[in-house]
Protein backbone atom coordinates (compact mmCIF):
# COMPACT_ATOMS: atom_id res chain seq x y z
CA UNK A 1 0.00 0.00 0.00
CA UNK A 2 1.30 3.41 -0.97
CA UNK A 3 1.40 6.27 1.44
CA UNK A 4 -0.26 8.48 -1.14
CA UNK A 5 -2.33 7.23 -4.07
CA UNK A 6 -3.97 9.66 -6.52
CA UNK A 7 -6.29 8.01 -8.98
CA UNK A 8 -7.46 9.92 -12.02
CA UNK A 9 -7.60 13.23 -10.17
CA UNK A 10 -9.14 16.27 -11.81
CA UNK A 11 -9.30 19.80 -10.50
CA UNK A 12 -11.39 21.99 -12.73
CA UNK A 13 -12.01 25.70 -12.20
CA UNK A 14 -14.63 27.65 -14.02
CA UNK A 15 -13.35 31.11 -14.82
CA UNK A 16 -15.85 33.29 -16.66
CA UNK A 17 -17.59 30.30 -18.22
CA UNK A 18 -14.31 28.83 -19.34
CA UNK A 19 -12.98 25.59 -17.96
CA UNK A 20 -9.49 25.67 -16.44
CA UNK A 21 -8.09 22.19 -15.83
CA UNK A 22 -5.56 22.81 -13.05
CA UNK A 23 -5.20 19.05 -12.70
CA UNK A 24 -6.14 16.96 -15.68
CA UNK A 25 -6.30 13.26 -14.84
CA UNK A 26 -3.43 12.76 -12.42
CA UNK A 27 -2.35 9.25 -11.44
CA UNK A 28 0.40 9.23 -8.87
CA UNK A 29 1.62 6.92 -6.13
CA UNK A 30 4.10 8.06 -3.52
CA UNK A 31 5.66 5.67 -1.05
CA UNK A 32 6.99 6.26 2.37
CA UNK A 33 10.39 7.92 2.56
CA UNK A 34 10.32 8.98 -1.06
CA UNK A 35 12.01 12.24 -2.00
CA UNK A 36 9.97 13.68 -4.83
CA UNK A 37 10.49 16.87 -6.80
CA UNK A 38 7.64 18.32 -8.85
CA UNK A 39 8.70 20.52 -11.74
CA UNK A 40 6.92 22.31 -14.54
CA UNK A 41 6.20 25.73 -15.94
CA UNK A 42 4.18 28.33 -14.11
CA UNK A 43 0.50 27.52 -14.10
CA UNK A 44 1.05 23.85 -14.80
CA UNK A 45 -0.69 22.82 -11.57
CA UNK A 46 2.22 22.15 -9.22
CA UNK A 47 0.77 24.05 -6.27
CA UNK A 48 -2.66 22.64 -6.92
CA UNK A 49 -1.22 19.14 -6.79
CA UNK A 50 0.66 19.92 -3.59
CA UNK A 51 -2.46 21.27 -1.90
CA UNK A 52 -4.34 18.17 -3.04
CA UNK A 53 -1.71 15.88 -1.56
CA UNK A 54 -1.66 17.99 1.62
CA UNK A 55 -5.42 17.52 2.12
CA UNK A 56 -6.01 21.26 1.81
CA UNK A 57 -7.85 20.97 -1.48
CA UNK A 58 -10.44 18.52 -2.72
CA UNK A 59 -10.50 17.14 -6.26
CA UNK A 60 -13.34 17.81 -8.69
CA UNK A 61 -13.27 14.11 -9.45
CA UNK A 62 -11.04 11.12 -8.88
CA UNK A 63 -10.00 9.20 -5.80
CA UNK A 64 -7.35 10.16 -3.29
CA UNK A 65 -6.22 7.63 -0.74
CA UNK A 66 -4.00 8.72 2.11
CA UNK A 67 -2.53 5.79 4.01
CA UNK A 68 -5.24 3.72 2.37
CA UNK A 69 -8.08 5.96 3.58
CA UNK A 70 -10.42 7.77 1.23
CA UNK A 71 -9.78 11.46 1.70
CA UNK A 72 -13.10 12.45 0.12
CA UNK A 73 -14.97 10.68 2.85
CA UNK A 74 -13.33 12.64 5.65
CA UNK A 75 -14.94 15.68 7.22
CA UNK A 76 -13.22 19.01 7.81
CA UNK A 77 -12.03 18.12 11.29
CA UNK A 78 -10.53 14.82 10.18
CA UNK A 79 -8.70 16.60 7.36
CA UNK A 80 -7.43 19.21 9.83
CA UNK A 81 -6.24 16.44 12.09
CA UNK A 82 -4.33 14.73 9.25
CA UNK A 83 -2.71 18.02 8.29
CA UNK A 84 -1.78 18.56 11.88
CA UNK A 85 -0.33 15.15 12.64
CA UNK A 86 0.85 13.73 9.33
CA UNK A 87 1.76 16.65 7.10
CA UNK A 88 4.08 19.61 7.42
CA UNK A 89 3.77 22.51 4.99
CA UNK A 90 6.63 24.76 3.95
CA UNK A 91 5.69 27.74 1.79
CA UNK A 92 7.66 29.87 -0.62
CA UNK A 93 6.79 33.00 1.37
CA UNK A 94 7.51 31.41 4.79
CA UNK A 95 4.10 32.46 6.17
CA UNK A 96 5.22 32.94 9.74
CA UNK A 97 3.13 34.95 12.18
CA UNK A 98 4.96 38.27 12.26
CA UNK A 99 4.16 39.11 15.88
CA UNK A 100 5.19 35.78 17.33
CA UNK A 101 8.74 34.65 18.10
CA UNK A 102 10.37 31.75 16.28
CA UNK A 103 9.61 29.57 19.25
CA UNK A 104 5.93 30.58 19.33
CA UNK A 105 5.59 30.07 15.59
CA UNK A 106 6.94 26.57 15.88
CA UNK A 107 4.60 25.84 18.78
CA UNK A 108 1.39 26.55 16.85
CA UNK A 109 0.88 23.05 15.35
CA UNK A 110 1.41 21.65 18.83
CA UNK A 111 -1.24 23.98 20.22
CA UNK A 112 -3.67 22.61 17.66
CA UNK A 113 -2.49 19.13 18.59
CA UNK A 114 -3.54 19.87 22.18
CA UNK A 115 -0.09 19.34 23.64
CA UNK A 116 0.76 20.82 27.01
CA UNK A 117 2.84 23.93 27.31
CA UNK A 118 5.91 22.37 28.93
CA UNK A 119 6.01 19.60 26.35
CA UNK A 120 5.50 22.12 23.58
CA UNK A 121 8.44 24.23 24.62
CA UNK A 122 10.64 21.16 24.67
CA UNK A 123 9.50 19.99 21.23
CA UNK A 124 9.74 23.45 19.67
CA UNK A 125 13.27 23.96 21.01
CA UNK A 126 14.30 20.58 19.67
CA UNK A 127 12.88 21.36 16.21
CA UNK A 128 14.60 24.74 16.12
CA UNK A 129 17.82 23.09 17.19
CA UNK A 130 17.45 20.57 14.36
CA UNK A 131 17.36 23.41 11.82
CA UNK A 132 20.30 25.16 13.47
CA UNK A 133 18.40 28.03 15.07
CA UNK A 134 18.94 27.24 18.70
CA UNK A 135 20.23 30.75 19.37
CA UNK A 136 17.39 32.52 17.53
CA UNK A 137 14.47 31.04 19.39
CA UNK A 138 13.15 34.27 20.79
CA UNK A 139 13.60 36.34 17.67
CA UNK A 140 10.65 37.59 15.70
CA UNK A 141 10.49 36.95 11.93
CA UNK A 142 11.53 40.51 11.08
CA UNK A 143 14.68 39.99 13.10
CA UNK A 144 15.66 36.99 10.99
CA UNK A 145 17.11 36.61 7.50
CA UNK A 146 15.10 34.97 4.72
CA UNK A 147 16.99 31.72 5.09
CA UNK A 148 16.49 31.74 8.83
CA UNK A 149 12.79 32.41 8.41
CA UNK A 150 12.48 29.47 6.08
CA UNK A 151 14.29 27.33 8.63
CA UNK A 152 11.77 28.42 11.27
CA UNK A 153 9.04 27.40 8.83
CA UNK A 154 10.68 24.00 8.38
CA UNK A 155 10.94 23.61 12.14
CA UNK A 156 7.23 24.38 12.34
CA UNK A 157 6.53 21.77 9.65
CA UNK A 158 8.48 19.03 11.36
CA UNK A 159 7.81 19.79 15.02
CA UNK A 160 4.84 17.42 15.19
CA UNK A 161 6.96 14.63 13.71
CA UNK A 162 4.83 14.40 10.60
CA UNK A 163 5.80 11.75 8.09
CA UNK A 164 5.42 14.03 5.08
CA UNK A 165 6.98 17.43 4.44
CA UNK A 166 5.38 19.36 1.57
CA UNK A 167 7.55 22.23 0.40
CA UNK A 168 6.20 24.51 -2.34
CA UNK A 169 9.24 26.31 -3.80
CA UNK A 170 10.96 26.55 -0.42
CA UNK A 171 14.02 28.17 -1.96
CA UNK A 172 12.11 30.42 -4.34
CA UNK A 173 12.59 33.52 -2.24
CA UNK A 174 16.15 32.78 -1.13
CA UNK A 175 19.63 33.40 -2.48
CA UNK A 176 21.47 30.31 -3.60
CA UNK A 177 23.55 29.95 -0.46
CA UNK A 178 20.50 30.02 1.84
CA UNK A 179 18.74 27.79 -0.67
CA UNK A 180 21.43 25.18 -0.36
CA UNK A 181 21.30 25.33 3.43
CA UNK A 182 17.56 24.69 3.27
CA UNK A 183 18.10 21.78 0.91
CA UNK A 184 20.69 20.42 3.31
CA UNK A 185 18.08 20.37 6.04
CA UNK A 186 15.50 18.70 3.78
CA UNK A 187 18.06 16.06 2.71
CA UNK A 188 18.80 15.36 6.34
CA UNK A 189 15.08 15.01 7.12
CA UNK A 190 14.80 12.56 4.26
CA UNK A 191 17.68 10.53 5.64
CA UNK A 192 15.89 10.44 8.99
CA UNK A 193 13.01 8.66 7.26
CA UNK A 194 10.62 11.45 6.30
CA UNK A 195 8.79 11.63 3.01
CA UNK A 196 9.65 14.86 1.19
CA UNK A 197 7.65 16.36 -1.65
CA UNK A 198 9.12 19.47 -3.16
CA UNK A 199 8.05 21.89 -5.87
CA UNK A 200 10.83 23.72 -7.63
CA UNK A 201 11.75 25.51 -10.83
CA UNK A 202 15.46 24.92 -10.45
CA UNK A 203 17.13 21.83 -11.79
CA UNK A 204 19.96 21.74 -9.27
CA UNK A 205 17.43 21.92 -6.42
CA UNK A 206 15.44 19.09 -8.01
CA UNK A 207 18.60 17.01 -8.21
CA UNK A 208 18.41 16.54 -4.43
CA UNK A 209 15.34 14.37 -4.92
CA UNK A 210 15.23 10.69 -5.83
CA UNK A 211 12.32 11.10 -8.17
CA UNK A 212 11.28 13.97 -10.40
CA UNK A 213 7.89 14.39 -12.05
CA UNK A 214 7.10 17.06 -14.59
CA UNK A 215 3.71 18.66 -15.01
CA UNK A 216 2.38 20.38 -18.06
CA UNK A 217 -1.15 21.79 -18.25
CA UNK A 218 -2.25 19.68 -15.33
CA UNK A 219 -0.88 16.45 -16.71
CA UNK A 220 2.15 14.44 -15.65
CA UNK A 221 4.45 14.38 -18.67
CA UNK A 222 7.45 12.72 -17.10
CA UNK A 223 8.11 10.59 -14.05
CA UNK A 224 11.83 10.08 -13.57
CA UNK A 225 13.58 7.92 -11.05
CA UNK A 226 16.93 9.47 -10.27
CA UNK A 227 17.79 7.23 -7.37
CA UNK A 228 21.55 7.24 -7.12
CA UNK A 229 22.73 4.09 -5.52
Amino acid sequence: MSLIALNNIYKIYNVGGEEVRALDGINLKIDENEYLAIMGPSGSGKSTLMNMVGCLDTPSSGVYQFEGEMVQEMDDDQLASIRNRKIGFVFQTFNLLPKATAQQNVEIPLVYGNIRKAERIKMASKALEDVGLKDRMHHKPNELSGGQRQRVAIARALVNNPSIILADEPTGNLDSKSGHEIMGILNQLHQQGNTIILVTHEDDIAQNANRIIRLYDGKITEDLNTKKN
Binding site: G54, L56, A80, S81, R85, F91, Y112, A157, N160
Partner: protein, 402 residues
Protein backbone atom coordinates in the same frame (compact mmCIF):
# COMPACT_ATOMS: atom_id res chain seq x y z
CA UNK B 1 -10.19 23.66 27.70
CA UNK B 2 -6.48 23.93 27.16
CA UNK B 3 -7.21 25.37 23.77
CA UNK B 4 -9.63 27.89 25.20
CA UNK B 5 -6.92 29.37 27.41
CA UNK B 6 -4.45 29.14 24.62
CA UNK B 7 -6.88 31.02 22.44
CA UNK B 8 -7.40 33.59 25.10
CA UNK B 9 -3.69 34.39 25.26
CA UNK B 10 -3.31 34.39 21.50
CA UNK B 11 -6.26 36.78 21.39
CA UNK B 12 -4.89 38.99 24.12
CA UNK B 13 -1.68 39.44 22.21
CA UNK B 14 -3.66 40.23 19.08
CA UNK B 15 -5.70 42.77 21.00
CA UNK B 16 -2.62 44.39 22.51
CA UNK B 17 -0.95 44.51 19.13
CA UNK B 18 -3.71 46.92 18.10
CA UNK B 19 -4.26 48.64 21.42
CA UNK B 20 -5.44 52.02 20.26
CA UNK B 21 -7.69 50.71 17.56
CA UNK B 22 -9.23 48.14 19.86
CA UNK B 23 -9.80 50.53 22.72
CA UNK B 24 -11.21 53.25 20.51
CA UNK B 25 -13.78 50.98 18.96
CA UNK B 26 -14.62 49.53 22.31
CA UNK B 27 -15.27 52.97 23.76
CA UNK B 28 -18.98 52.30 23.46
CA UNK B 29 -18.60 49.26 25.69
CA UNK B 30 -16.56 51.24 28.20
CA UNK B 31 -19.33 53.82 28.32
CA UNK B 32 -22.00 51.13 28.42
CA UNK B 33 -20.48 49.36 31.39
CA UNK B 34 -19.80 52.68 33.07
CA UNK B 35 -23.39 53.82 32.67
CA UNK B 36 -24.95 50.54 33.78
CA UNK B 37 -22.81 50.35 36.91
CA UNK B 38 -23.18 54.03 37.71
CA UNK B 39 -26.92 53.77 37.25
CA UNK B 40 -27.04 50.86 39.67
CA UNK B 41 -24.78 52.62 42.13
CA UNK B 42 -26.88 55.76 41.90
CA UNK B 43 -30.14 53.91 42.44
CA UNK B 44 -28.88 51.89 45.38
CA UNK B 45 -27.43 55.07 46.88
CA UNK B 46 -30.74 56.82 46.39
CA UNK B 47 -32.50 53.85 47.95
CA UNK B 48 -30.36 54.15 51.05
CA UNK B 49 -30.88 57.88 51.33
CA UNK B 50 -34.56 57.49 50.69
CA UNK B 51 -35.07 54.73 53.18
CA UNK B 52 -33.28 56.55 55.97
CA UNK B 53 -35.22 59.71 55.13
CA UNK B 54 -38.52 57.85 55.07
CA UNK B 55 -37.74 56.33 58.43
CA UNK B 56 -37.55 59.91 59.75
CA UNK B 57 -41.12 60.44 58.67
CA UNK B 58 -42.87 57.27 59.76
CA UNK B 59 -45.54 55.42 57.83
CA UNK B 60 -48.16 55.77 60.51
CA UNK B 61 -48.27 59.55 60.42
CA UNK B 62 -50.84 61.55 58.44
CA UNK B 63 -49.87 65.07 57.52
CA UNK B 64 -52.91 67.31 57.12
CA UNK B 65 -52.44 70.62 55.37
CA UNK B 66 -53.77 72.78 52.57
CA UNK B 67 -51.82 71.22 49.77
CA UNK B 68 -50.97 67.80 48.41
CA UNK B 69 -47.25 67.01 48.50
CA UNK B 70 -46.92 66.05 44.91
CA UNK B 71 -50.23 67.43 43.74
CA UNK B 72 -50.81 69.29 40.53
CA UNK B 73 -53.15 71.93 41.93
CA UNK B 74 -52.67 75.55 40.95
CA UNK B 75 -51.11 77.66 43.68
CA UNK B 76 -54.04 80.04 43.79
CA UNK B 77 -56.45 77.17 44.31
CA UNK B 78 -54.39 76.03 47.27
CA UNK B 79 -54.19 79.58 48.58
CA UNK B 80 -57.97 79.88 48.54
CA UNK B 81 -58.39 76.89 50.81
CA UNK B 82 -58.99 77.70 54.45
CA UNK B 83 -56.02 77.51 56.80
CA UNK B 84 -55.38 74.82 59.34
CA UNK B 85 -56.18 76.04 62.82
CA UNK B 86 -54.92 75.15 66.25
CA UNK B 87 -58.48 74.37 67.38
CA UNK B 88 -58.52 71.42 64.99
CA UNK B 89 -56.19 69.58 67.33
CA UNK B 90 -58.84 69.31 70.03
CA UNK B 91 -61.60 68.60 67.52
CA UNK B 92 -59.72 65.78 65.87
CA UNK B 93 -58.83 64.31 69.24
CA UNK B 94 -62.49 64.39 70.29
CA UNK B 95 -63.95 62.90 67.16
CA UNK B 96 -61.35 60.40 66.07
CA UNK B 97 -60.98 57.05 67.72
CA UNK B 98 -57.89 56.18 65.69
CA UNK B 99 -55.79 59.28 66.34
CA UNK B 100 -53.12 58.33 68.87
CA UNK B 101 -51.50 61.75 68.83
CA UNK B 102 -52.33 65.03 67.14
CA UNK B 103 -49.71 67.75 66.87
CA UNK B 104 -50.04 71.11 65.17
CA UNK B 105 -46.84 72.17 63.48
CA UNK B 106 -45.96 75.71 62.53
CA UNK B 107 -42.70 76.33 60.83
CA UNK B 108 -40.57 79.31 59.83
CA UNK B 109 -36.99 80.33 59.39
CA UNK B 110 -35.27 82.12 62.28
CA UNK B 111 -31.88 83.21 63.45
CA UNK B 112 -30.50 81.40 66.48
CA UNK B 113 -27.67 82.77 68.55
CA UNK B 114 -25.72 81.87 71.64
CA UNK B 115 -23.18 84.45 72.69
CA UNK B 116 -21.14 85.26 69.62
CA UNK B 117 -22.34 82.22 67.72
CA UNK B 118 -25.21 82.64 65.31
CA UNK B 119 -26.90 80.46 62.72
CA UNK B 120 -30.03 80.49 60.59
CA UNK B 121 -32.33 77.56 60.94
CA UNK B 122 -35.91 76.34 60.91
CA UNK B 123 -37.98 76.60 64.06
CA UNK B 124 -41.11 74.60 64.79
CA UNK B 125 -44.00 75.50 67.04
CA UNK B 126 -45.94 72.47 68.25
CA UNK B 127 -47.56 70.76 71.22
CA UNK B 128 -46.57 68.05 73.66
CA UNK B 129 -47.77 65.31 71.26
CA UNK B 130 -45.09 66.18 68.74
CA UNK B 131 -42.55 63.60 69.91
CA UNK B 132 -45.05 60.84 69.12
CA UNK B 133 -45.23 62.01 65.51
CA UNK B 134 -41.52 61.98 64.79
CA UNK B 135 -39.03 59.15 64.96
CA UNK B 136 -36.15 61.04 66.58
CA UNK B 137 -35.66 60.77 70.31
CA UNK B 138 -34.51 63.19 72.98
CA UNK B 139 -30.89 62.45 73.90
CA UNK B 140 -30.39 65.07 76.58
CA UNK B 141 -32.91 66.76 78.85
CA UNK B 142 -36.65 66.43 78.11
CA UNK B 143 -39.50 67.61 75.92
CA UNK B 144 -41.85 70.38 77.13
CA UNK B 145 -45.05 69.62 79.00
CA UNK B 146 -48.65 70.56 78.27
CA UNK B 147 -48.48 73.14 81.06
CA UNK B 148 -45.40 74.77 79.61
CA UNK B 149 -47.23 74.98 76.30
CA UNK B 150 -50.41 76.46 77.80
CA UNK B 151 -48.53 78.96 79.93
CA UNK B 152 -46.41 80.12 77.01
CA UNK B 153 -43.12 79.12 78.60
CA UNK B 154 -40.12 80.16 76.57
CA UNK B 155 -38.40 76.80 76.43
CA UNK B 156 -36.89 75.02 73.42
CA UNK B 157 -35.61 71.64 72.29
CA UNK B 158 -32.68 72.04 69.92
CA UNK B 159 -31.39 69.78 67.17
CA UNK B 160 -28.12 67.94 67.62
CA UNK B 161 -26.36 70.13 65.08
CA UNK B 162 -27.27 73.32 66.98
CA UNK B 163 -26.09 71.75 70.20
CA UNK B 164 -22.74 70.88 68.65
CA UNK B 165 -22.35 74.30 67.04
CA UNK B 166 -23.25 76.29 70.15
CA UNK B 167 -22.16 74.17 73.07
CA UNK B 168 -19.71 71.61 71.73
CA UNK B 169 -19.10 69.12 74.51
CA UNK B 170 -20.66 71.32 77.19
CA UNK B 171 -24.06 70.71 78.74
CA UNK B 172 -26.67 72.88 76.99
CA UNK B 173 -29.53 72.16 79.40
CA UNK B 174 -30.69 75.26 81.24
CA UNK B 175 -28.70 77.62 79.01
CA UNK B 176 -30.43 80.47 77.24
CA UNK B 177 -30.24 80.96 73.52
CA UNK B 178 -31.79 83.71 71.44
CA UNK B 179 -34.32 82.96 68.73
CA UNK B 180 -34.81 86.06 66.61
CA UNK B 181 -33.56 88.01 69.64
CA UNK B 182 -36.00 86.44 72.06
CA UNK B 183 -34.52 84.46 74.94
CA UNK B 184 -35.42 80.78 75.18
CA UNK B 185 -34.22 78.23 77.71
CA UNK B 186 -32.83 74.99 76.32
CA UNK B 187 -34.51 72.02 77.97
CA UNK B 188 -33.69 69.20 75.55
CA UNK B 189 -31.60 68.00 72.65
CA UNK B 190 -32.83 65.83 69.75
CA UNK B 191 -30.75 62.88 68.57
CA UNK B 192 -28.60 63.18 65.48
CA UNK B 193 -30.52 62.23 62.30
CA UNK B 194 -28.65 63.39 59.23
CA UNK B 195 -30.03 64.98 56.12
CA UNK B 196 -33.51 64.47 54.79
CA UNK B 197 -33.25 63.12 51.22
CA UNK B 198 -29.71 64.43 51.31
CA UNK B 199 -31.12 67.93 51.01
CA UNK B 200 -31.61 69.67 54.33
CA UNK B 201 -30.27 68.80 57.72
CA UNK B 202 -32.80 67.81 60.35
CA UNK B 203 -30.16 68.39 62.97
CA UNK B 204 -30.35 72.16 62.64
CA UNK B 205 -33.71 72.98 64.13
CA UNK B 206 -35.35 74.22 67.27
CA UNK B 207 -38.72 73.13 68.61
CA UNK B 208 -40.85 75.52 70.69
CA UNK B 209 -44.21 75.14 72.41
CA UNK B 210 -46.84 76.52 70.06
CA UNK B 211 -48.07 78.79 72.82
CA UNK B 212 -44.78 80.64 72.97
CA UNK B 213 -44.38 80.43 69.20
CA UNK B 214 -47.70 82.17 68.63
CA UNK B 215 -46.95 84.87 71.16
CA UNK B 216 -43.40 85.63 70.06
CA UNK B 217 -43.85 85.07 66.38
CA UNK B 218 -47.01 85.47 64.42
CA UNK B 219 -50.16 83.48 64.97
CA UNK B 220 -50.61 83.48 61.27
CA UNK B 221 -48.37 81.54 59.04
CA UNK B 222 -48.42 78.15 57.61
CA UNK B 223 -49.56 75.20 59.70
CA UNK B 224 -50.03 71.51 59.34
CA UNK B 225 -51.32 68.78 61.63
CA UNK B 226 -49.42 65.59 62.24
CA UNK B 227 -51.72 62.76 63.25
CA UNK B 228 -50.41 59.45 64.45
CA UNK B 229 -52.63 56.45 63.78
CA UNK B 230 -52.12 52.75 64.57
CA UNK B 231 -49.73 51.10 62.12
CA UNK B 232 -52.11 48.19 61.52
CA UNK B 233 -55.09 50.47 60.86
CA UNK B 234 -53.71 52.97 58.42
CA UNK B 235 -56.53 52.57 55.87
CA UNK B 236 -59.28 52.85 58.43
CA UNK B 237 -57.51 55.69 60.21
CA UNK B 238 -57.10 57.59 56.97
CA UNK B 239 -60.78 57.18 56.07
CA UNK B 240 -61.83 58.29 59.49
CA UNK B 241 -59.57 61.36 59.53
CA UNK B 242 -60.97 62.38 56.15
CA UNK B 243 -64.51 62.32 57.48
CA UNK B 244 -63.48 64.03 60.71
CA UNK B 245 -61.80 66.81 58.73
CA UNK B 246 -64.79 67.14 56.42
CA UNK B 247 -67.01 67.43 59.45
CA UNK B 248 -64.74 70.08 61.00
CA UNK B 249 -64.80 72.01 57.78
CA UNK B 250 -68.56 71.53 57.51
CA UNK B 251 -68.40 70.16 54.00
CA UNK B 252 -71.55 68.84 52.35
CA UNK B 253 -71.38 65.42 50.72
CA UNK B 254 -71.21 66.93 47.24
CA UNK B 255 -68.41 69.35 48.12
CA UNK B 256 -64.81 68.55 47.40
CA UNK B 257 -62.17 68.34 50.10
CA UNK B 258 -60.60 71.70 50.85
CA UNK B 259 -57.64 70.15 52.65
CA UNK B 260 -55.15 67.41 51.95
CA UNK B 261 -53.99 64.41 53.94
CA UNK B 262 -50.47 63.36 52.99
CA UNK B 263 -48.60 60.18 53.73
CA UNK B 264 -45.04 58.98 53.15
CA UNK B 265 -46.61 56.85 50.42
CA UNK B 266 -46.73 59.97 48.28
CA UNK B 267 -42.95 60.18 48.53
CA UNK B 268 -42.62 56.54 47.66
CA UNK B 269 -44.75 56.90 44.58
CA UNK B 270 -42.74 59.87 43.38
CA UNK B 271 -39.49 58.26 44.33
CA UNK B 272 -40.36 55.18 42.32
CA UNK B 273 -41.12 57.39 39.36
CA UNK B 274 -37.73 59.04 39.76
CA UNK B 275 -36.11 55.64 39.94
CA UNK B 276 -37.90 54.52 36.79
CA UNK B 277 -36.74 57.71 35.09
CA UNK B 278 -33.12 57.15 36.11
CA UNK B 279 -33.32 53.48 35.30
CA UNK B 280 -34.92 54.18 31.94
CA UNK B 281 -32.41 56.82 30.93
CA UNK B 282 -29.53 54.68 32.18
CA UNK B 283 -30.77 51.62 30.34
CA UNK B 284 -31.24 53.63 27.19
CA UNK B 285 -27.72 55.08 27.34
CA UNK B 286 -26.32 51.67 28.21
CA UNK B 287 -28.08 49.87 25.39
CA UNK B 288 -27.20 52.58 22.90
CA UNK B 289 -23.52 52.58 23.80
CA UNK B 290 -23.37 48.80 23.90
CA UNK B 291 -24.92 48.62 20.46
CA UNK B 292 -22.52 51.24 19.12
CA UNK B 293 -19.61 49.47 20.83
CA UNK B 294 -20.77 46.09 19.59
CA UNK B 295 -20.99 47.33 16.02
CA UNK B 296 -17.52 48.85 16.40
CA UNK B 297 -16.11 45.57 17.65
CA UNK B 298 -17.85 43.66 14.88
CA UNK B 299 -16.31 46.07 12.42
CA UNK B 300 -12.75 45.68 13.66
CA UNK B 301 -13.25 41.96 13.79
CA UNK B 302 -14.19 41.98 10.11
CA UNK B 303 -11.14 44.10 9.39
CA UNK B 304 -9.00 41.79 11.50
CA UNK B 305 -10.27 38.70 9.68
CA UNK B 306 -9.59 40.34 6.34
CA UNK B 307 -6.12 41.49 7.33
CA UNK B 308 -5.24 38.08 8.62
CA UNK B 309 -6.74 36.00 5.83
CA UNK B 310 -3.34 34.55 5.01
CA UNK B 311 -2.68 33.79 8.64
CA UNK B 312 -5.98 31.92 8.75
CA UNK B 313 -4.89 29.94 5.68
CA UNK B 314 -1.59 29.06 7.33
CA UNK B 315 -3.27 28.08 10.55
CA UNK B 316 -5.63 25.80 8.67
CA UNK B 317 -2.74 24.30 6.71
CA UNK B 318 -0.98 23.36 9.93
CA UNK B 319 -4.03 21.74 11.40
CA UNK B 320 -6.45 24.26 12.88
CA UNK B 321 -10.04 23.05 12.67
CA UNK B 322 -12.95 25.37 11.92
CA UNK B 323 -13.85 25.31 15.59
CA UNK B 324 -10.38 26.42 16.59
CA UNK B 325 -10.36 29.35 14.19
CA UNK B 326 -13.86 30.27 15.31
CA UNK B 327 -12.73 30.08 18.92
CA UNK B 328 -9.66 32.18 18.27
CA UNK B 329 -11.55 35.07 16.71
CA UNK B 330 -14.44 34.82 19.11
CA UNK B 331 -11.98 34.97 21.98
CA UNK B 332 -10.41 38.00 20.42
CA UNK B 333 -13.75 39.80 20.25
CA UNK B 334 -14.52 38.74 23.80
CA UNK B 335 -11.10 39.93 24.98
CA UNK B 336 -11.64 43.36 23.51
CA UNK B 337 -15.05 43.64 25.13
CA UNK B 338 -13.82 42.21 28.40
CA UNK B 339 -10.93 44.64 28.61
CA UNK B 340 -13.26 47.48 27.70
CA UNK B 341 -15.71 46.27 30.31
CA UNK B 342 -13.01 46.13 32.96
CA UNK B 343 -11.89 49.62 32.03
CA UNK B 344 -15.46 50.87 32.33
CA UNK B 345 -15.74 49.14 35.66
CA UNK B 346 -12.53 50.74 36.88
CA UNK B 347 -13.78 54.18 35.91
CA UNK B 348 -17.06 53.44 37.67
CA UNK B 349 -15.19 52.31 40.75
CA UNK B 350 -13.15 55.51 40.92
CA UNK B 351 -16.29 57.55 40.31
CA UNK B 352 -18.24 55.79 43.03
CA UNK B 353 -15.44 56.44 45.50
CA UNK B 354 -15.41 60.12 44.59
CA UNK B 355 -19.19 60.30 44.69
CA UNK B 356 -19.26 58.60 48.05
CA UNK B 357 -17.91 61.81 49.60
CA UNK B 358 -21.25 63.50 49.00
CA UNK B 359 -23.69 60.67 48.50
CA UNK B 360 -23.80 57.07 49.70
CA UNK B 361 -22.50 55.10 46.72
CA UNK B 362 -20.68 51.81 46.67
CA UNK B 363 -20.18 49.71 43.59
CA UNK B 364 -22.26 46.57 44.02
CA UNK B 365 -20.26 43.40 43.34
CA UNK B 366 -23.21 41.65 41.72
CA UNK B 367 -23.66 44.60 39.42
CA UNK B 368 -19.96 44.50 38.58
CA UNK B 369 -20.28 40.80 37.80
CA UNK B 370 -23.36 41.46 35.71
CA UNK B 371 -21.62 44.16 33.68
CA UNK B 372 -18.71 41.81 33.01
CA UNK B 373 -21.20 39.21 31.86
CA UNK B 374 -22.78 41.80 29.57
CA UNK B 375 -19.36 42.68 28.13
CA UNK B 376 -18.69 39.05 27.34
CA UNK B 377 -22.13 38.73 25.80
CA UNK B 378 -21.49 41.74 23.56
CA UNK B 379 -18.18 40.15 22.60
CA UNK B 380 -19.90 36.93 21.62
CA UNK B 381 -22.68 38.65 19.71
CA UNK B 382 -20.43 41.04 17.83
CA UNK B 383 -17.72 38.45 17.25
CA UNK B 384 -19.78 35.53 16.07
CA UNK B 385 -20.35 36.56 12.46
CA UNK B 386 -16.75 37.64 11.70
CA UNK B 387 -15.44 34.54 13.47
CA UNK B 388 -17.80 32.32 11.55
CA UNK B 389 -16.61 33.90 8.34
CA UNK B 390 -12.98 33.32 9.34
CA UNK B 391 -13.64 29.72 10.25
CA UNK B 392 -15.26 28.98 6.93
CA UNK B 393 -12.64 30.54 4.70
CA UNK B 394 -11.37 28.13 2.09
CA UNK B 395 -7.77 27.37 3.09
CA UNK B 396 -6.50 27.55 -0.49
CA UNK B 397 -8.15 30.92 -1.15
CA UNK B 398 -6.90 32.17 2.17
CA UNK B 399 -3.34 31.12 1.42
CA UNK B 400 -3.47 32.77 -2.00
CA UNK B 401 -4.84 36.00 -0.53
CA UNK B 402 -2.51 38.95 -1.11
Amino acid sequence: MLLLFENFFISLSAVFANKTRSILTALGIIIGVFSVTMMGTLISGLDKTFESSMSMLGRDILYISRYEWFGDMEWWEVRNRPRMRTEYVQKVKQRSKYALAVAPVMQRGASLSYGEKETRTEIFGTNEDYMKTITANIVEGRFFSQNEDRSGSRVTIIGFGIKEAFFGEKDPIGKYIKIDNEKFRVIGVLEKQGKFLGLFSTDKQAILPIGAYNRVFSKRGWMRLSVKIPEQKIEEGLDEIYSVMRHIRGLKPNQKNDFAINQTKAFEKNYNMLKIAIGGTGTFITLLSLIVGGIGVMNIMFVSVKERTREIGVRKAIGATKGMILGQFLMEAISICLIAGLLGLMISYVFSILLNQVFPSTLDMRLAGFSIFISILVGVISGIIPSYRAANLDPIDALRYE
